[in-house]
């Protein structure tokens, strides 16, 4: 699976400070570390970028390109910053992201055509987040058809079902289950499109030390259903090992949970038990609580 390194993210205080102060070293160290860890793309998440969008984005892209040849994912809702970023990229970038919102269709999506890049399109529309799998499929079909009319082929489109925190009371687990389903069917519905998720959002709200376990398990589950790429943390070594197929026993166990096979926990190591319990939560089989590993 294609891993898009998520670590250059404006929400991190060190990053926002580094960008504001034009501190190239902080950014470059993080870009290099992600490249060395095996990321396929580097995501540059700069948020809404209210101040100096063009100049800031141009600096950021150039700064990162000085230390890595990896393609970039330009991650902003600000289309002025987006255009500046796409222009500055040496390799064919990923526009991250457009959606079915009118504003995005008019101002963001055309940039993908203009700069001949690949583009993430999310299921969001003017009415907000579609509430279930069917409406997500419906909305993405509309937006992809619109993109096709602009001259963007399916092969350049990466669809994003938008992952939400599994810890959200009541709804979180339903979201996790429905997004697994979305990834499973999207290839048949829209042949040629790729899929992408913001993996770490699934574990938002989960106790910090347990977040990686949710991310890793869900990555394996999504991969089984055909996920093409994930914006994720390449510095999580275990995540990367799982992704490279270096932990086949764990992957097989998670697949068994997904297939509904009975699993005898007493024969498993603690780590295996944790993966099984986590997969059951993400599959909606056991109710989530922060203490899901303890029961």
């Amino acid at each position: 699976m294609v891993i898009i390194g998520e670590n250059i993210h404006i929400i991190a205080k060190t990053i926002s400070t580094a960008i504001r102060e034009r501190n190239a070293k902080v950014i470059q160290d993080l870009a290099r570390a992600q490249a060395e860890a095996g990321a396929d793309y580097i995501d540059l998440n700069v948020g809404p970028m209210k101040k100096d969008p063009e100049q800031t984005m141009e600096w950021l892209v150039k700064t990162v390109q000085e230390v890595t040849d990896l393609p970039l994912s330009i991650d902003t809702m600000n289309y002025i910053a987006m255009e500046a970023g796409l222009k500055a990229c040496r390799k064919r970038p990923l526009l991250n992201s457009a959606s079915g919102k009118t504003d995005s269709k008019q101002n963001m999506l055309p940039l993908a055509k203009k700069y001949n890049c690949e583009v993430v399109i999310s299921v969001m529309t003017d009415r907000g987040m579609p509430p279930d799998v069917n409406s997500k499929v419906e909305s993405i079909m509309d937006t992809v058809a619109y993109a096709n009319e602009l001259g963007i082929p399916n092969e350049d489109i990466w669809v994003d079902p938008i992952l939400l925190p599994v810890s959200t009371a009541g709804e979180g687990q339903r979201f996790a289950v429905e997004n697994l389903e979305f990834i499973k069917i999207i290839g048949d519905v829209l042949p040629g499109v790729k899929s992408i998720v913001g993996l770490s959002n699934t574990s938002n709200g989960v106790p910090e030390e347990l977040r990686p376990l949710i991310n890793r398990t869900y990555l394996v589950m999504l991969a089984k259903n055909g996920l093409y790429s994930a914006i994720a943390d390449p510095l999580d070594k275990e995540l990367m090992k799982l992704n490279r197929g270096e932990m086949p026993e764990i992957v097989e166990l998670i697949h068994k949970v997904m297939d509904g096979e009975e699993i005898d926990l007493s024969s498993l190591s603690q780590k295996e038990v944790e993966y099984v319990k986590t997969a059951k939560v993400l599959k909606g089989e056991t109710l989530y609580s922060n203490a899901w590993l303890e029961s």
Partner: protein, 301 residues
């Protein structure tokens, strides 16, 4: 062709819990069907039970029409509890309001002595609710548990902030715990998981908080319903606990209930019936006429 209604059967069973001792005891829970699903395969051996609430001090803000049935006893909690029995309650719930640091900050010793007096004076089991102040309750509820040793009272609220200390006292002195969490099923389960590490799950009753009609009752409804569904249908051991709906206080806080008597009775009654339909096993009310109204509604079903 003859129509056959589909009949479901479930794998989970809500734990049956006994509160009180000997003749003064009652059972709650034990069902393996969702609330009122008498058409499914399974049973509910212990239909919902009702308690009336007694305060350990003269009620500071009750409307006249709520004080009225207890006017002669509102300053004497023991007599008040005795009077509740004449209205056909299954249990009495003593609310230790005066121990709240923001109210009178009354001592734990005094509260515990009163709880014992009330428990001894009545012929039904006693529920004891602390003020809800997470720090003061550690002291108060531990003392209540100790002084009432072996009486098998239902004591709470046990919160995520104080479950270790309060839970231990309740366990050591042979009582049942009310595990309370703020309207969130994940937190409810988490508290049960943590408490169950040292506390037997068959001595836990859960209180997910009961909001009044018009003040968020839907949230309580959905939550109670979900807890029951997950317990009975998916057999999640950490949600297979009976549920207490402590709703009287919430209802009589509302402007509508305070405004006039009929409105107040209906406010409390509709809230009670709704939470009953959602799956509550034990309901705490304030007005005896609401109790009568709710019971009548159930019996004429």
């Amino acid at each position: 062709m003859e129509y056959k209604a589909p009949v479901e059967e479930y794998t989970g069973v809500v734990r049956e819990i006994t509160i009180g001792k000997g003749k003064k005891s009652l059972k709650i829970g034990g069902e393996n069907i969702p609330p009122f699903h008498f058409f499914d395969r399974g049973s509910n051996p212990n239909p919902a039970k009702f308690a009336l609430e007694v305060l350990d001090m003269e009620p500071p803000d009750w409307p006249e029409h709520l004080v009225e049935p207890f006017r002669d006893v509102v300053s004497e909690p023991v007599k008040w509890a005795e009077k509740c029995q004449s209205f056909g309650v299954d249990a009495v719930s003593l609310f230790l309001m005066s121990t709240d640091p923001a109210v009178k900050d009354a001592s734990a010793d005094k509260a515990a002595a009163l709880a014992k007096n009330v428990a001894e004076a009545i012929d039904v089991p006693l529920i004891v609710y602390g003020s809800g102040d997470e720090k003061k309750d550690v002291e108060v509820l531990a003392k209540v548990a100790e002084v009432c040793d072996g009486m098998n009272l239902l004591i709470g609220p046990v919160l995520k902030e104080n479950y270790e200390a309060v839970g231990k006292a309740i366990l050591d002195h042979g009582h049942v715990a009310i595990a309370q969490s703020p309207l969130d099923i994940n937190l409810l389960k988490e508290l049960n998981v943590k408490l169950s590490k040292f506390f037997p799950p068959d001595r836990i009753v859960v209180d997910p908080l009961s909001s009044a009609l018009g003040y968020g009752m839907e949230y309580s409804f959905s939550l109670i319903e979900r807890v029951k569904q997950i317990g009975i249908m998916t057999k999640d051991s950490m949600t297979m606990m009976p549920i207490i709906a402590n709703l009287g206080g919430e209802c009589w806080k509302t402007k509508q209930a305070k405004e006039n008597k009929v409105q107040g009775l209906l406010w409390e009654g509709i809230t009670a019936l709704s939470l009953l339909l959602a799956g509550a096993n034990l309901l705490v009310l304030r007005h005896p006429e609401t109790l009568k109204l709710v019971k009548k509604t159930i019996e004429t079903r």
